[in-house]
Symmetry: C2
Subunit: 396 residues, 2 copies
């Protein structure tokens, strides 16, 4: 089993229902929601509006774009009326007709909309844990522009927003903007690739320039175009944590989606799409930042800020003090996971390491005799005794 799934299951973050299908348990959902909010903040700052598009897609929309037959991993379902419908693996076929209803003039442009929605893809092999699922929640953003220049400005702004997102979730230093093929209608698309041995992709990284190219465009012509030197490139395994893609007029042409410009002329709307898989991002953090003891969550996405462990007899002095500390921290808005189970210290410490909350606080008779609480950061090996809550707050 993939390391991410093995750890996330053992630590109680997800439950595997079948290959490529996972449920998110309370711990996992807390991480998920924190990632979601980091992304939402950046999407709103880009002026994009949040919406929620359907999972069932009419067949005719997919026939219109030619993808009903062309897309191998499309789930087709027989509806109650006996008709075939698609289970959405992406949402261009839904957002484009909606945008067409609301955009008709240059005055209506630019526009951008995004969602967090489950995607369904008929993956043949689903062996990478939560990294590649048959169902998975994605943030997908779509933008609509009057001309290339406006599109390019927005595309660059999304690139910057993506960098901030991967920085915020703790993957900034190992995530590279990677040039990929733009398909038949665009020079390049861009991926954000996070270096880790579990990666399914191979990329070639210029560590100084902090950019990379993927396998498909690793050729002389592209390297020259990007001013990269073959001998500066290092081959790495990586996970694609995000991609941004110039759709140009592919979907607007298919749906006859045009606008009227200032001189009354009819022009096709220029589109872009921009994706981030939330489960995959969570799985990548699990893969890339964990150690031999378990998960290691960055503060920004940790399910709780403090893992509070009581040792000693039930209802004893340490248990009472721990409960006081718990309530004090919660009243200050600090999320605390309380472990007051009657288990040996070793088991509770091992579980804390496995779950990977940034700060462990132990209240025991021993710690109280030493004058307070014992704290240990997940990424450090030494514990120390502190006297009061302020030393905890300063570490959050």
């Amino acid at each position: 089993m993939a390391k991410n799934a093995e750890l996330l299951i053992r630590a109680g973050f997800v439950n595997k229902e079948m290959a490529g299908v996972y449920s998110y348990l309370p711990l996992g959902l807390r991480v998920f929601k924190k990632i979601e909010n980091i992304i939402r903040k950046e999407m709103n700052a880009l002026g994009a509006e949040e919406l929620f598009l359907s999972s069932f897609h009419p067949k005719e929309n997919w026939v219109t774009t030619g993808r009903w037959e062309a897309m191998d991993d499309l789930y087709k379902v027989i509806d109650s009326s006996g008709r075939e419908v698609a289970l959405g693996p992406t949402h261009e076929e839904i957002i484009t007709p909606i945008a067409k209803k609301f955009i008709s003039s240059y005055r209506d442009l630019p526009k951008a909309a995004y969602q967090f929605q489950t995607k369904f893809r008929m993956e043949l092999r689903s062996k990478s844990g939560v990294l590649r699922g048959r169902e998975f929640v994605m943030k997908d953003l779509y933008s609509f522009h009057a001309d290339e220049k406006d599109f390019e400005t927005y595309y660059e702004a999304v690139k910057d927003a993506y960098k901030r997102i991967f920085e915020a979730v703790g993957l900034g230093s190992i995530t590279y903007l990677t040039f990929a093929s733009g398909g038949t209608f665009s020079k390049y698309s861009h991926e954000f690739q996070t270096i880790t041995d579990a990666g399914e992709d191979t990329i070639f990284v210029d560590e100084k320039k902090r950019i990379a190219v993927n396998k498909e465009v690793n050729n002389e012509e592209v390297l020259k175009d990007l001013d990269l030197d073959k001998k500066d490139l290092v081959e790495k395994k990586a996970i694609e944590v995000g991609n941004i893609f110039p759709l140009k007029t592919k979907f607007s042409s298919a749906f006859d989606f045009n606008y009227t410009d200032e001189s009354g002329g009819k022009k096709p709307v220029i589109m872009g799409c921009y994706g981030i898989g939330l489960g995959r991002l969570m799985g990548t953090i699990a893969e890339a930042l964990s150690d031999d003891k378990g998960l290691v969550w960055p503060k920004s996405v940790a399910p709780f800020s403090v893992h509070l462990i009581t040792l000693g007899e039930e209802g004893g002095q340490a248990a009472k003090k721990a409960l006081e500390l718990h309530d004090d921290l919660e009243s200050r808005g600090v999320d605390v996971l309380l472990d007051d189970r009657s288990l040996r210290a070793g088991e509770k410490f091992a579980d804390a390491d496995l779950i990977g909350i940034p700060l462990r606080v132990v209240v025991s008779d021993k710690s109280l005799q030493s004058g307070g609480y014992e704290i240990k950061e997940r990424t450090k090996s030494e514990a120390k005794i502190i006297k009061d809550i302020h030393s905890i707050l300063s570490l959050l």
Copy 2:
């Protein structure tokens, strides 16, 4: 077309993709999220933990409960491996095996978990707009108990939470706790039914006692049991906005889900389930509270608090003042929908009535000459001039 769908589509809250399948546009999603947060607050207060269960369900889970064949509206999908899987219409088949992994002793009980997740049901007729969809988001809560008494206490607590939820979204006065059949293994289940002519259900209401019975249990025996008198009952059309259901040991028995009690004996876990459809609740508010001019949102779930309309020339005095007011309100945390389109006053007022935001504020040369802004509450007919922002804030 059903009134709820007709209004929600025309006002730009939802887009109809096909019968029973809707996308939520930005205005609709704002209402949706407010409803979600009202429900989430009550679920958390019940001590339930939020999680997010998969949409694809293994066939074997449904075979285990006997519902693979018995449930007519189950979507069955052929997976990539050639196997059949179910698209979840409800989640007992997923939550029960998960709960079994984490609950083994009386010390682990009680527990409760809930989610907001899309459900798929193969409805033959989907003619009620967003009230009855082929895909729809539900809040489903599941609770797990050691004995009947503990279950019943929790069940009553959920009943009260549901009352507060329907009160909070503005349907309290027209929503009735309704006794329904408990199936083969329980005396009653309970529905919350909201009175409106668009309702698909028929209920019999005792308006004084504020309870009702549905068609299936409207018989002498039940009326006697509930201390109701046939002549006090009024027949009404209603929409089922929520239901709570004693599952007893139906699913724990199927999955052999037992716990060890204090004396070491093995006992089946007692379960309950509790649902609210979010789209249906939104549609019910649209049906029940709208008037001949359009939607009427209660403050608690309105997409914005203020609908701010500018009249007069672009960039003129009124437009400037409106922008100042907009920024001032937003800086105080008030959500404002700004309509600065170059349209006639009549059109903009009609749109404001259609969208149904509780407070309309107009800034025009005329209002400025009269000394300020013109305000009108959506549920009142007369507008009045106010001098400053504080009169607006006092109405929110």
